[in-house]
Amino acid sequence: MEKKIRVLIAKPGLDGHDRGAKVIARALRDAGMEVIYTGLRRTPEQIVTAAIQEDVDAVGLSCLSGAHNHLFPRVVELLRERQADDIVVIGGGVIPDADIPGLKEAGVKEIFTPGTSTEDVVAFLKTHVGR
C-alpha cells in the first residue's frame, strides 16, 4: 500500500495571519500529502503532542508575529525531549535573513520566507522526508 507523507501545519504564538499557512496546506494537499491543520494560536506543547499523536513526518510552523526565535526552537526542543526528533521541522513567515542561521542551528531544517514558491516547499518535503 502506498505510504502518504503526513504533515502538520501549525501556527504557534499569537498572530492571527493564517493565509500563508492555508496556502501551504492546500499546496501540500494538491501534491498528494495528508495535511493536518491545527488552527491558530497553539502552544509549542500542543503542537508537539499533535505531531506525535498524528504520527507526522514533518511539522510546518508559520509565524508572522516576530516570536519565531523563541517558538520554533522550542518546538524542536520539545520534540527532542519526547524522542521524536526524527520529525522534520520547517518554518515560514516574515523572518529576517539574519535570524535564519540561528534557527537552523537550533534544528529547524529549512526556513521559507515570503515569495517562496509552493513547489519549493513540496520539493523540499519530498526530498527530506524519507519513509
Binding site: 500500500m1 502506498e2 505510504k3 502518504k4 503526513r6 496546506a25 492546500r26 501540500l28 494537499r29 494538491d30 501534491a31 498528494g32 500529502m33 495528508e34 495535511v35 493536518i36 491543520y37 491545527t38 488552527g39 497553539r42 506543547e45 500542543q46 508537539v48 503532542t49 499533535a50 506525535i52 499523536q53 498524528e54 504520527d55 519526547r82 524522542q83 521524536a84 526528533d85 526524527d86 519513509r131
Partner: protein
C-alpha cells in the same frame, strides 16, 4: 534516540503514545503487520465502548466530538478519537481539519485523550479502510471509549454501523422537511439523535419531526431512541448526551444486544476479508493481462460483461483444479 519505525510493538504494550500512533500508521500502510499483532494480543480486545458520530458537513460533528471527549474524561474515562476526513479523488491528498475544532483540553493538555485524524483514502462509506483496525488498536491500547467521527455524510454513508456500538446521528435545524426525515439510510442507523445548533431558529421543528418519525418506527429492541438538543460550541447539552450514551451501552450489555451486534460485526468482517482474499487470489491466478483483454473485448462490443465474468470464472476454476491435482 528515536524509535525505529517498525519497532512500535513493545512500546505499544508499555502504553507509549508514539508507539500507538505508529501502529495506526501501520494499519494504514501495512495492515498485515497489525493483523498479526492483534491476533497475538486478542485478549486485549472487546473492552472498549465504540461510539460513532455522523451527520452532514458543517453540522458540528468535530466540535461536538471534542466536547464529548472532554466531558467523558472529566468523568474518569480514557478516550480515543478517530476523525475521518475525505481524501482528494484526484491527488489522494487531504486536508484533515477536524482537529482544529477541538477544545483546548483535547488539543494535548490531557493525557487521557488521544486524537488521530484519518484520511478516507478513497473509501466511500464515510470511514477509511483502516478505521476498523485503528479502533481495535485503541481498544487493545486500553482506551475505555473510542469515538469515531465520520466524514460529513449525505444520506447513505452507513459504514459506521459496522464498527460502532452506539451511533449518534447529528441533525441541524433547517436542512429539510419531514419527508427528508422519512428516507431510508442514515436516519435509520441512529441509536441517539442530536439536534445541534439548537439555539437557531427551527430547532424545535427539527426535534418534533425526528420525534414523530421515531413514533412511526417500530422499536423491537426495547431501546427508546432519544433526541437531544445541543449547542456544542457552548458545551450545552453535552452532559445529557454523555448520560444517554453511557445508558445506551449499559442497555446493550444488560439486554444481551451487545453480543448480537458484535456477532454481526464479526460476520461482516469475515465476509470482507474473504472478498479481499478472493479478489487477490483471482488476480493472481487469472492474471492482470486477462483482465485487460476482457476489458478491451467488452469495450469493442465483442462480448458482454456478463459473459466475460462467466469465462473468467471458468478460467479461474479450472486453473485452481489443475494446481490442486498437480
Amino acid at each position: 534516540m528515536s524509535v525505529v519505525k517498525a519497532d512500535w510493538q513493545e512500546g505499544f504494550l508499555a502504553g507509549d503514545t508514539r508507539a500507538l500512533a505508529r501502529a495506526i500508521s501501520a494499519a494504514e500502510n501495512e495492515p498485515e503487520v497489525v493483523h498479526s499483532f492483534l491476533q497475538e494480543h486478542s485478549g486485549r480486545l472487546g473492552r472498549a465502548h465504540v461510539v460513532g458520530i455522523t451527520g452532514p458537513p458543517g453540522a458540528g460533528k468535530s466540535t461536538l466530538t471534542g466536547q464529548l471527549a472532554v466531558t467523558l474524561v472529566a468523568r474518569g474515562y480514557s478516550v480515543g478519537l478517530l476523525l475521518v476526513d475525505p481524501s482528494s479523488p484526484f491527488t489522494g491528498g487531504a486536508i484533515l481539519g477536524d482537529r482544529l475544532r477541538l477544545p483546548d483540553l483535547a488539543q494535548g493538555s490531557s493525557s487521557q485523550i488521544y486524537v488521530r485524524s484519518l484520511s478516507s483514502r478513497g473509501s466511500m462509506g464515510g470511514l477509511s479502510r483502516a478505521t476498523a483496525d485503528a479502533i481495535k488498536l485503541l481498544d487493545a491500547f486500553g482506551k475505555d471509549i473510542i469515538i469515531v467521527e465520520t466524514v460529513g455524510t449525505g444520506q447513505s454513508e452507513t459504514d459506521i454501523i459496522s464498527v460502532a456500538d452506539s451511533v449518534v446521528v447529528l441533525a441541524v435545524p433547517g436542512l429539510g422537511d419531514d419527508i427528508q426525515a422519512m428516507k431510508a439510510g442514515i436516519l435509520e442507523i441512529a441509536d441517539l439523535f442530536v439536534v445541534n445548533k439548537a439555539d437557531r431558529d427551527g430547532a424545535d421543528k427539527t426535534e418534533r419531526e425526528l420525534l414523530s418519525m421515531l413514533k412511526l418506527q417500530a422499536s423491537s429492541s426495547g431501546w427508546t431512541i432519544p433526541v437531544i438538543k445541543t449547542v456544542a460550541i457552548r458545551n450545552e447539552g453535552i452532559a445529557d448526551l454523555a448520560d444517554q450514551l453511557l445508558a445506551h451501552y449499559e442497555f446493550l450489555q444488560t439486554s444481551g444486544l451487545l453480543l448480537e451486534v458484535r456477532t454481526a460485526r464479526v460476520k461482516s468482517e469475515l465476509n470482507e476479508l474473504l472478498q479481499l482474499r478472493l479478489t487477490q487470489e483471482f488476480q493472481k491466478v487469472v492474471g492482470a493481462a486477462r483482465y485487460e483483454e476482457y476489458t478491451q473485448q467488452i469495450v469493442s462490443g465483442n462480448i458482454s460483461p456478463y459473459e466475460a465474468v462467466n469465462q473468467l470464472w471458468q478460467e479461474f476454476v479450472s486453473e485452481i483444479k489443475r494446481s490442486a491435482s498437480s
